[in-house]
């Protein structure tokens, strides 16, 4: 029996991938791990609950949103642009990390995660939130609720979320233009 395939082409972290023949039934997470050699996106529950496998999808209108790659087929992303946890830091020409993104740095400074399994999903979710606030700033007194709503679905079993919340809040407050002046 042969496995049905079809060509897949997409942009990951600004780089063109494919076209390459990929099984019709392949989930995106497996594509990232096995075809693109991007292993930072985590396989957690495998059923769309924990959000460790979340990546960012960039829309043509400049907006971005999260997608879960363990329950979304690779071919859904055909022709789309996505970002994974590997795409946030500044790198030199050889791909070596020069500087982490502010949200990544903030997670480290706040000791937001321990085992790190959920961290890629949190980096992407927080990034989507920050990009949304750049387009639609919120009032200061709604900030905590906004962060909770945006990150609520992501599961962490180590640090109890408080350190993630503090890190995201600090990053937002220290980034100009994300919070509306009273």
């Amino acid at each position: 029996m042969s496995i049905a395939t079809r060509p897949l082409a997409l942009t990951i972290n600004g780089q063109q991938h494919g076209p390459i023949e990929v099984p019709v039934e392949l989930m995106m997470l497996d594509y990232l791990h096995e075809y693109a050699n991007l292993t930072g996106t985590r396989f957690g529950c495998g059923q769309g609950m924990c959000r460790a496998c979340t990546v960012i999808v960039d829309q043509d209108d400049g907006s971005s949103h999260e997608m879960r790659t363990c329950i979304t087929g690779a071919h859904y992303f055909n022709g789309r642009r996505i970002r994974t946890v590997e795409g946030h830091a500044q790198r030199d020409e050889d791909g070596e990390v020069l500087a982490l993104a502010p949200i990544q740095q903030s997670f480290l400074e706040h000791y937001s995660f321990q085992c790190s399994y959920c961290a890629p999903g949190f980096v992407n979710a927080a990034t989507v939130l920050i990009e949304r606030l750049q387009r639609e700033p919120v009032a200061r007194d709604q900030l905590e609720d906004t962060i909770s709503d945006a990150l609520n679905d992501h599961i962490c079993r180590c640090t109890g979320y408080v350190r993630y919340l503090a890190a995201v809040r600090d990053t937002i407050l220290s980034t100009p233009g994300l919070v509306k002046e009273a």
């Binding site: 049905a4 079809r6 019709v24 039934e25 769309g48």
Partner: protein
């Protein structure tokens, strides 16, 4: 079953307390009947005290709020006598004489025996009084004129009580009492006329209330969709079965109501719901009308959409994940002739729901953002023809209409 055993134990525990015994056993019976009558769902606000009212019920005539039925003198039914309570359930009249709106299903509860309304009354009176004024109804003219209900009642409130059918078994008659008088299934599952009255000639034939339409649950319709006594027993006691998980308004009806039925009552209810249906010895779970597997060649666009957005949870063969994701191969909603509910669920998704026995069905995302009307119609037709045994006759306009109606109700 455990529930039955527990009820038995509770009953036994009260026997030695002579004098007190009669009252307590009546109260315990009242608790059971209150659950079987599903009073909780309409009379408890989200996050509010049990039976203290405040839950909004949206009707085509405006919004009505479930009232406080705890024994608080000022805001509840603390001053009601047995007789007052009976009149409210039978004639739709509150203690002070004002007419209740028929959202309170007195047209159905009138079938309750006096013994049962008394037991319910004594259970409610045994609760802690909660002081909580339910909001006033927000009905449009002329429906906000309660005196008009006198005429509505003349037209639609029948007199008489529950009459057992002597040609049927005691079990069947008990089931009919549970379905009609207590469970008031017909209030949602029977279509309504233009004045909001249930159309009794189409009893349980399905209606169009709310976003998820209560489906046709007449015996033949249930059987055609694959419902057997054991599947119905699983669904009504656990909220889960191979034919689907309780969703929409049926979820609280199971969680606060039918799950508490004793084995005997559950059997009775099911024997009534499946009246006249011959149960096949080996029930067919699958109505397979197309082979979902396409080993060779490029899949059809709808199959690719299914693989990309659905198969991660429902699996490529539609079998789902036990205790987590319902199978589609035997799904009752796919087998409905009217695609309304299938489209609505695909657009809106289903929230995460906890079921009895620590079971939990995870949330289903809505795909209103990911799929346009054309892609959605293709997917709906793929599901209907592959596993539903229904024709692929859903149009782009069908999807567009449901998308618009959701946008309207969200405004």
């Amino acid at each position: 079953m455990r529930i039955a055993a527990a009820m038995g134990l509770v009953g036994l525990a009260f026997i030695p307390l002579a004098g007190q015994a009669a009252d307590d056993s009546v109260i315990e019976r009242g608790r059971y009947l209150t659950r079987a009558a599903d009073c909780y769902v309409c009379h408890t606000a989200e996050g509010g005290a049990a039976y203290a009212g405040g839950r909004p019920l949206k009707t085509p005539f405006g919004t009505i709020y479930g009232t406080n039925i705890t024994p608080d003198d000022e805001t509840g039914i603390g001053l009601y006598s047995e007789e007052d309570f009976y009149r409210a359930l039978h004639a739709g009249e509150a203690r002070d004489g004002h007419q209740l709106y028929p959202a309170m299903p007195y047209t159905t509860y009138r079938l309750l025996t006096r013994e049962d309304t008394n037991a319910i009354y004594h259970y409610l009176m045994s609760l802690e009084p909660v002081e909580h004024e339910a909001p006033d109804s927000e009905l449009n003219f002329p429906f906000n004129q309660r005196w008009g209900l006198v005429f509505w009642n003349l037209l639609f409130l029948e007199s008489g009580s529950f009459e057992p059918n002597p040609e049927r078994s005691e079990t069947w008659n008990r089931g009919r009492y549970l379905a009609t008088a207590l469970g008031h299934c017909g209030e949602c599952h029977t279509p309504r006329g233009f004045m909001g009255q249930t159309q009794e000639d189409k009893y349980l034939g399905g209606s169009n209330l709310g976003r998820i339409w209560p489906p046709d649950i007449t015996p033949q319709a249930l059987a055609e969709r694959g419902w057997t006594p054991d599947k119905l027993a699983s669904y009504l006691s656990l909220g889960l079965s191979r034919l689907g998980a309780a969703n929409g308004e049926m979820f609280p009806a199971v969680i606060h109501g039918t799950r508490y039925l004793t084995d005997a009552d559950l059997d009775a209810l099911i024997s009534y719901l499946l009246t006249g249906v011959e149960t096949p010895k080996t029930p067919s779970e699958t109505i397979a009308s197309a082979d979902p597997k396409q080993a060779e060649g490029d899949p059809a666009p709808a199959r690719l959409t299914y693989m990309n957005l659905c198969s991660g949870c429902h699996r490529s063969n539609g079998e789902g994940i036990p205790h987590t994701i319902v199978p589609l191969t035997s799904n009752s909603t796919l087998r409905l002739e009217d695609p309304h509910n299938l489209i609505a669920v695909l657009l809106d998704g289903i929230p995460l729901q906890d079921f009895p026995g620590h079971a939990r069905m995870q949330a289903m995302p809505g795909y209103a953002q990911q799929l346009d009307d054309s892609q959605m119609a293709e997917l709906v037709n793929y599901l209907r023809t592959t596993w539903g045994g229904q024709p692929g006759d859903v149009s782009v306009d069908d999807v567009a209409e449901l998308r618009r109606s959701e946008a309207r109700s969200a405004e």
